[in-house]
Each structure stands twice: as structure tokens, then as C-alpha cells.
């Protein structure tokens, strides 16, 4: 197109006055464009605004994907409870991967309450000064109303005979997992494999490293989120084994996936402790603290613990858990703290930039 212009330039040289006029004219057109942009923004704003400041009666809950059914049920319950108490409120919800939701809240998504897959994702909000630094202590024993763990999903009949973590390292087993860089389920899967390897006879850090190296070095798909990995395995039919949340595995079994599947529980796994937190900065800004506190209190009721059990989470309440015990495989569970000292220690060693996971993923390329 530049080649064509040389011809036009000769023409324009012949009409200098005309082109001077054109130049002036083009300026006014630019102004017209700027006016149009402003108009567009104004119109957009008028159309629909999710805006803060919102009325006191509106609550936004940002949750990680697997909690979707539970959150929708809680919201329904919350609305009717509030209505019964004479308050008209609205609850809105947003779902996504745990890390992505935390990122969105850090970037300014005005969530009043977050329900995330990992306490560490709430720590990210504390680092951004959106949640009080002692949020975990303040909510002692009253985190998410449930725990979960990490299990395997295999094709019907378990054709590759996958029984335990060591089978995931076999070269004939195609592994589908979320990526520990972005997914909370995947971080726990990685730590579960590591912890299992440490607990084997002659278990050592070296054995643990070679296990996770084999798993993540050869995984056929590393999806960004646990739900994405489920979709890859179930709906797209890729891989021999999926490593994911226990509740995701049961949900997948319920959801009439196109291909029948089986759930395999390894000989030991890790305790997954999702976290609930009130986003202090946002509730103070919106004036919704009382509303948010009532919502979190609702999550801790036995009724919601029952709902959690129905969604295949392990209820925290001992009585409710006992009532549902036979729905969950009896598997020895270990915590992050007893195996790695603390989350931040595990994170620094394995998931930080340049950490072990980065080196493993680097070797894939």
C-alpha cells in the first residue's frame, strides 16, 4: 500500500491547496472519533453497571469452580433466610479457577466473600491488603465448611491398572492433570504425591522428586484449572488417568459423562482445606460487613454441611461427617503442615519462580 502511495503523492503535489484543506479536515475527524469514544463509554456505563458503591443489600461471592453447586444452594438459602428476617437482598456469584478468582479480586473485582480452593489464595488477598493478615486465625476452625482430598479418575474397568501414586509415573500411563503453576488442586496433587513418596518404606526426598518429575514431566495435558482438566479427560476423552479433587471426581461420575469412569483412591493422600474469607476492604467499602458475616455463618450451619456432603465435600462437623462417612473412601490423610512445615515453606521450595516445579516444566520443553 505504500508503493501505491507514491503515485498519489505526485497527484497531491499538483493540488497543494486541496491537501492542506484535507489535513485540516482530518483533524476534525479525529475529534469526532474522540467524541464517539466518550459517548460509547457513557452509554456503556448507563447500560449496566456492576458498580461500587452498591446498595447495602447486594453481596458478591467469588468462588472456585468446584464449589459452584454448593454456593448456588447457599445463596438460595441465604436469600430466603434474609427475606424471612424482613431484609431484601441480592446475592451475585462469580466462578472460576481458584487462583484466577484471587487474581481478579486483587485486580479489583468487588467480591465481599471469597470461597477459594486454597488458604494460600486468600493469603494473596492478605498480601494485597484486601483481607486482614490474621484472617486465618480469626476464623479458627471455621474455614470452609468442609475438606476434601486428591484422588484419581480412570476409564471404566481401570484398563491401565492404576492403583497408587507410583503408577502415575509409569511410561504407559497418560496423565491428565491441572497445572500446579495456576491450579490449587494441582498444587495439592503435587504435594500429595511428594508426601506419599516420603511415607513409603525407604522413602526419601530423592524418591519424591523423581515421582513428581515423572508425573509432571510426562503429563499429556496440564490444564490451567481443575475443571479444565476434568473437561479434557471426560468430555474430550484424553488420557488414562485424571488427578483431581475428590469432589470433582464424584461430580464427574454423577454427570453422566460420555464415557463411564471409575474413581481410584490412592493408599494415602493429602487434606485439602478450601478457605472462606470476608474481603475486608470490599465489605468496608460497600458497607456489607454484617451481610457478609451472616453469609459466612450460614456456610457453617449443619444444614450447609449437609449440602456440602451432597456436593461430595467432607463436612468439617464431626456428626455430619459420621453420617456420611461411608460415602467417602477411608484413606489415610496427611496435612501440608505436618509434611512440609507450612504452606509458605512448600510454596518457596516447589512453586516459586525458579522452584522445583519450574525446573521440571522447563525440562518438558
Amino acid at each position: 500500500m505504500f508503493a501505491e502511495r507514491s503515485g498519489r503523492s505526485e497527484q497531491s503535489a499538483a493540488f497543494p491547496r486541496f491537501h492542506a484543506a484535507m489535513s485540516r479536515h482530518s483533524f476534525s475527524l479525529c475529534h469526532a472519533g474522540a467524541v464517539a469514544l466518550l459517548g460509547a463509554l457513557t452509554l456503556g456505563g448507563c447500560g449496566k453497571s456492576t458498580g461500587s458503591p452498591r446498595p447495602e443489600s447486594a453481596l458478591l461471592v467469588a468462588a472456585y469452580d468446584p464449589a459452584r453447586t454448593l454456593v448456588l444452594e447457599a445463596n438460595k438459602r441465604f436469600l430466603s433466610d434474609e427475606l424471612a428476617a424482613g431484609r431484601t437482598v441480592t446475592v451475585r456469584e462469580s466462578f472460576g479457577g481458584s487462583g484466577k478468582q484471587a487474581r481478579a479480586v486483587v485486580d479489583g473485582l468487588g467480591a465481599d466473600v471469597v470461597l477459594l480452593g486454597l488458604a494460600d489464595d486468600v493469603n494473596a488477598l492478605a498480601d494485597a491488603k484486601l483481607v486482614k493478615p490474621d484472617w486465618a486465625k480469626a476464623r479458627e476452625g471455621k474455614g470452609a465448611p468442609y475438606t476434601s482430598t486428591i484422588v484419581f479418575v480412570v476409564r471404566a474397568g481401570n484398563p491401565k491398572n492404576v492403583r497408587d501414586w507410583s503408577d502415575l509415573a509409569r511410561s504407559d500411563v497418560a496423565l491428565v492433570a491441572p497445572n500446579p503453576k495456576s491450579s490449587s488442586a494441582a498444587k495439592l496433587s503435587y504435594l500429595a504425591a511428594w508426601g506419599w513418596a516420603l511415607r513409603q518404606p525407604n522413602g526419601s526426598e530423592i524418591a519424591a522428586e523423581s515421582l513428581v518429575r515423572a508425573m509432571y514431566g510426562k503429563a499429556v495435558v496440564l490444564d490451567a484449572t481443575a475443571r479444565g482438566a476434568s473437561t479434557t479427560f471426560l468430555q474430550n476423552g484424553i488420557g488414562d488417568v485424571l488427578v483431581t479433587w475428590e469432589n470433582e471426581a464424584y461430580l464427574a461420575r454423577d454427570e453422566r459423562a460420555r464415557a463411564p469412569i471409575e474413581i481410584v483412591t490412592p493408599s494415602a493422600s493429602i487434606v485439602a482445606e478450601p478457605a472462606v474469607a470476608i474481603v475486608d476492604a470490599n465489605v468496608d467499602h460497600h458497607g456489607t460487613r454484617a451481610l457478609a458475616e451472616r453469609y459466612v455463618a450460614l456456610l457453617e450451619t449443619n444444614e450447609m454441611q449437609e449440602a456440602a456432603a451432597r456436593a461430595h465435600f467432607r463436612p468439617r462437623n464431626a456428626e455430619v461427617l459420621a453420617a456420611h462417612q461411608r460415602e467417602f473412601a477411608a484413606v489415610p490423610l496427611f496435612t501440608v503442615e505436618e509434611t512440609f512445615g507450612s504452606w509458605s515453606a512448600a510454596k518457596a521450595k516447589h512453586f516459586a519462580d525458579g522452584g522445583l516445579l519450574d525446573r521440571i516444566l522447563e525440562a518438558r520443553r
Binding site: 497527484q11 482530518s26 469514544l37 458478591l60 466462578f95 485486580d107
Partner: protein, 281 residues
């Protein structure tokens, strides 16, 4: 004249044609057909139920709003930019022509992240706007901005080669007969561009309705509020609501096919006009 260029197809020609047809069938026809098959795989009831959902209505409304604002905007911008690049001697016009490639070159997700950096609530501009009850990110304005940003140069890129080829002769004639620049633009340039402009606008519409990457970053995914149709399709698919996802996918595919049909009709109309002009003198 065109009969001259045509030859009887031989074996090689048939082989090439069958390969082309096979590729198009595998990559285009089968997936598009599959979308419709899956959408109706459980009969009409799930389709109607999906189309009756409040969050589906909201997503359609937001997608329509984003398109309704971004398409006129990029059209006005496109005409202005094409004008500056092809009809002026401004020193900045080459830079503008180069900058017009940027929205095409950057991945949409990066465009979304750029918006977070520029109008996010933690930036001075974003904070100032939010404090006045006008949040941009995680609200409709952010989605409209993202959509406009990724489709910004669709119209301009369509018009520039055409306006280059047309040249300024007709406008110069109008000017020499005493028309003001504005009159020349409105009465000569724009009418000549009406069909290409429609063509470009339909392209911008398709881009706006289908945009995913950038909107995904700035949406916040609030159900019934900041979910566009493409985002809702992904969410429904992830929630094992395969039918719902494919119903919406089929709907988007229908719109895309309709806009393709309009584009083709416009191209045919342009061809007729050109032929008529060639014959008339």
C-alpha cells in the same frame, strides 16, 4: 472473457479440488455441523430451557450491548483513520498506519491485561472513575472497551486498501466544482464507500460478538451481569451443561453464518456496481 481462463479439468485438477474439499469439510463443515447436532442431541426441550434462562438473556444482552457500542465506534474510527492515512499528508499518518496493525498483532488476552494496567481500580484513572460510581473493570464498560480495542482496526484495515485504489480523483473533482471538504466527504466519498463500509462493519460485528480472550480478563465472570455469550459458553461447558453450551455456540454460529451471507451479498453487489461502471462509459 473469463471463459478463456477456464480449462477442462484434468486429473491433477480433480485431485487438488478433492483435497481442498476434504480439508474444508474436516476443519469447517464437520465441526460447525457437530455444534448443531450436539445442540439438538437431546431434543428441543433443553434448547428452549437454555434459551429461557435469565443468565443466558443477560449474556445475550451484554454481548449485544458490547457490539452495539463497539461497532459504531470502530466504524467511525475506521473511516477517520482510513481518511487520514489515504487522503492527507499528515506526517503522523505513516505512524498511524503502522499503529493500526497493533490491535491485530497483540493477543486478545494481552489486550485485556493492558486494560487492567490502564483502567484497573488500582490505577489513578480507574480509581477516579470508580470513586464516581463508574467502575470500568469487571463491569460493562470494561467489556465494551476490551471489545472495541480488539476490533479497533477491523474497519480501517478494510477501507485503507480500497481508498488507496480509488484515489482522490472524484473528491478533487468535487472540490474543483466548489464543494467544501465536508461536502466532498459526505456527498462523494461516503456514498462511494457505502457497500465496503457495510462489509467492514459486518466484519467488526462478528469480531465483537465472538470476542473471548480480552473480555475473559476484564469480566470478573459475575453471573447475570458481566458474562458475555462466549464466556457463558465456556462456563456451561465446564459445568457439564454440554447441551446449553452447544445451544449458545449454535446461536453464535448462526449469527456468524448470517453475517457471512451479508458479506457475500455485499461483495456481489460491489462486483455488479464495478461491472456497471466499466460498461457505462
Amino acid at each position: 472473457m473469463h471463459t478463456l481462463a477456464r480449462r477442462r479439468p484434468n486429473g491433477a485438477a480433480w485431485a487438488i479440488v478433492s483435497v481442498a474439499v476434504a480439508i474444508v469439510a474436516t476443519l469447517v463443515a464437520v465441526p460447525v455441523g457437530a455444534v448443531f447436532v450436539y445442540a439438538f442431541s437431546r431434543g428441543f426441550d433443553p434448547v428452549l430451557r437454555t434459551l429461557a434462562r435469565a443468565d443466558v438473556h443477560s449474556a445475550m444482552g451484554l454481548s449485544a450491548l458490547a457490539a452495539a457500542v463497539s461497532v459504531p465506534f470502530v466504524t467511525v474510527f475506521g473511516v477517520a483513520a482510513a481518511w487520514v492515512v489515504t487522503r492527507t499528508e499528515l506526517p503522523s499518518r505513516r505512524a498511524l498506519a503502522a499503529i493500526l496493525n497493533v490491535p491485530f498483532a497483540i493477543p486478545p488476552v494481552v489486550a485485556g491485561l493492558l486494560l487492567v494496567l490502564v483502567v484497573g481500580p488500582h490505577t489513578p484513572l480507574g480509581y477516579w472513575l470508580a470513586a464516581r460510581g463508574f467502575p470500568v473493570l469487571f463491569a460493562a464498560p470494561g467489556i465494551i472497551l476490551a471489545t472495541s480495542l480488539v476490533s479497533l482496526s477491523v474497519v480501517a484495515k478494510d477501507l485503507i486498501p480500497l481508498m488507496e485504489a480509488l484515489g482522490p480523483a472524484e473528491e478533487l473533482a468535487a472540490r474543483s466544482l466548489g464543494a467544501t471538504p465536508f461536502q466532498a466527504f459526505v456527498r462523494v466519498t461516503l456514498p462511494g464507500l457505502s457497500l465496503p463500509l457495510l462489509h467492514a462493519t459486518v466484519g467488526a460485528l462478528a469480531r465483537a460478538l465472538g470476542e473471548f480472550g480480552s473480555v475473559s480478563v476484564v469480566s470478573g465472570r459475575i453471573r447475570g451481569e458481566t458474562m458475555t455469550v462466549p464466556l457463558l459458553i465456556e462456563a456451561l461447558y465446564g459445568e457439564y451443561d454440554q447441551t446449553g453450551a452447544f445451544v449458545l455456540a449454535a446461536l453464535l454460529a448462526l449469527v456468524a453464518i448470517a453475517s457471512l451471507a451479508v458479506k457475500k451479498a455485499v461483495e456481489a453487489a460491489v462486483a455488479r456496481t464495478v461491472n456497471a461502471e466499466e460498461v457505462s462509459p
